[in-house]
Each structure stands twice: as C-alpha cells, then as structure tokens.
C-alpha cells in the first residue's frame, strides 16, 4: 500500500502513477476487508477503482501534451520538492512518535457485528440528514463538473483540444 503510493508520487509517467495509485486504493480496500469492514471495502473499490480512477485517467489523457506528461524538474521545483520532503518527513516522525507514545485501552477482540441491514438503518435513521446533504453535494458536484468541463468549450471553441 505504502510502497505503491510512494512510487506513484515519485514516478514521472503520469499513467503509471495513476495506475499505481489505483493499486494503492485497492490495497486500502484490502485493509478494510482484513479489518472486517466488507461494506466499506466494496464501496471503496466501486468508487475508487471503478469511478474515480476512470475520471483521473480521462483527465490525464485529455490534458496530455507528450508521452511523459509531467514537466521537467527545474531548480525552483527542486527546492519545492526538498521542502515538501522535509515537511512530510517531519510530520511522519511526529505522527509516528505520537502513535507509539500513546496508550490505547485494550482492543476489542472481535469485529463489531455489522450487517448491511444495520448500516442501512443507521444511514436512514440516525444519519438521515447527512445522507440527504451528501446526495445534494453529489448532485451539485455532478452538475458543476459537467458545466465546468463543458461550457468552456462552447465559449471558445477554437481552444478546445
């Protein structure tokens, strides 16, 4: 999981890094399966591997200028990279130190019994408002994305790729 994610962030070939990221998402789903959260795992695969990856690949292909789409690393960018690496490394150190230092109460031995029915009831009853809001967000996002990607082409058709 970590390896493919790191490789994805390092690779020059955009398609390769997108595919590796998908692998990383899939392994997150595998982690969910291991933790007993089947529903979340399948949802993760369906949404990430099935949908988001497709959108990402589409975006990559539509905005591709040459075979290696990422630009050449310049001095300014190199400085940025080192800064980013430092920040990342520092944060990783702090977080892992915190995790290692903290003491949690004893873990539950078995996974909480969660059936799809239970999830559905919880979603509908206790989190009904949140579900509605999510629905609205998704609809707005869908319409917004379509508008963003489409109107621009109409306004200046000679710019369209």
């Amino acid at each position: 999981m970590l390896g493919s994610a790191a490789a994805a962030m390092l690779l020059r070939n955009l398609i390769h890094s997108a595919l590796l990221l998908i692998l990383s998402w899939a392994s997150v789903a595998a982690f969910y399966l291991w933790a007993g959260a089947e529903f979340a795992a399948f949802a993760q695969i369906l949404v990430y591997v099935g949908a988001i990856s497709m959108v990402v690949l589409f975006a990559v292909l539509l905005t591709r200028q040459n075979q290696v789409a990422d630009v050449v690393i310049e001095p300014a960018s190199r400085k940025r990279a080192t800064t980013a690496l430092t920040v990342g490394a520092c944060l990783a150190g702090i977080l892992s130190a915190a995790v290692v230092a903290s003491r949690f109460p004893a873990a539950a031995v078995t996974a909480p019994a969660t059936t799809v029915k239970l999830i559905g009831l919880e979603l509908m009853e206790r989190h009904g408002a949140a579900l509605l809001i999510i629905g609205v967000i998704l609809t707005v996002a869908l319409i917004g994305a379509t508008l963003l990607a489409a109107t621009e082409a109409k306004r200046n058709p000679e710019d369209a790729p």
Partner: protein
C-alpha cells in the same frame, strides 16, 4: 504494539506520502491525487478505530467512511473538471503557471 498502533502507523505513513506528493509535484492531477491519498489515510483511521478502538460502536466508523468516500468522489469529479477547464484555458496543467490572479 497493538494492531491499532500498526494501523495508525500505516495510515500516518500514507498521509505523509500524500502530503509530500501534493506539495512536491507540480502536475495538478498528481496534487489532486495526493489529496485523495490523504483522505484515504483518514478513512483508514476511521476503520481502525471502529475495529480496534476501545469502545466500538456497531456502524459509526463505517458510516463515516462511506460519507468520506462519497465526498471524495465529488471532490475528484469537480477537481478534475476544474483541471480540464484550466487546461483548455492555458494548454498546461502545471500548478505554477496558473497564476494570472497573482497581484
């Protein structure tokens, strides 16, 4: 070292990789993907606490994750639409070049 510790370590690793990627890369798509990775790391934490946490509730962690996944999907869709719009505008998706609003 309990399983919870391990899960948290993994998720913090994933988060930092995502953060580093988002900061270091100049390709907008990759920046967006780095943010997705960070979201995933947060989801990992939810599941880890739900499964190995001190007082597991029946479905709360899972429902959080489902909502986060839905939001991430919306975010990716809008983000990538934005990227395509920007690309159409200036034939480039480098983050540094989208600076027409700079004072």
């Amino acid at each position: 070292m309990t399983p919870l510790h391990l899960c948290l370590l993994i998720s913090s690793g994933l988060f930092c990789i995502g953060l580093t990627g988002a900061l270091a890369r100049s390709n907008t798509i990759l920046v967006l993907l780095g943010i997705e990775l960070m979201l995933n790391a947060a989801n990992l934490n939810f599941i880890a606490f739900w499964r190995f946490g001190p007082a597991p509730s029946p479905a709360n962690g899972m429902i959080f994750v489902l909502f986060a996944i839905a939001v991430a999907a919306a975010e990716a869709a809008v983000g990538l639409a934005l990227i395509i719009a920007v690309y159409r505008h200036q034939k480039n998706i480098r983050l540094q070049e989208a600076n027409t609003l700079r004072g």
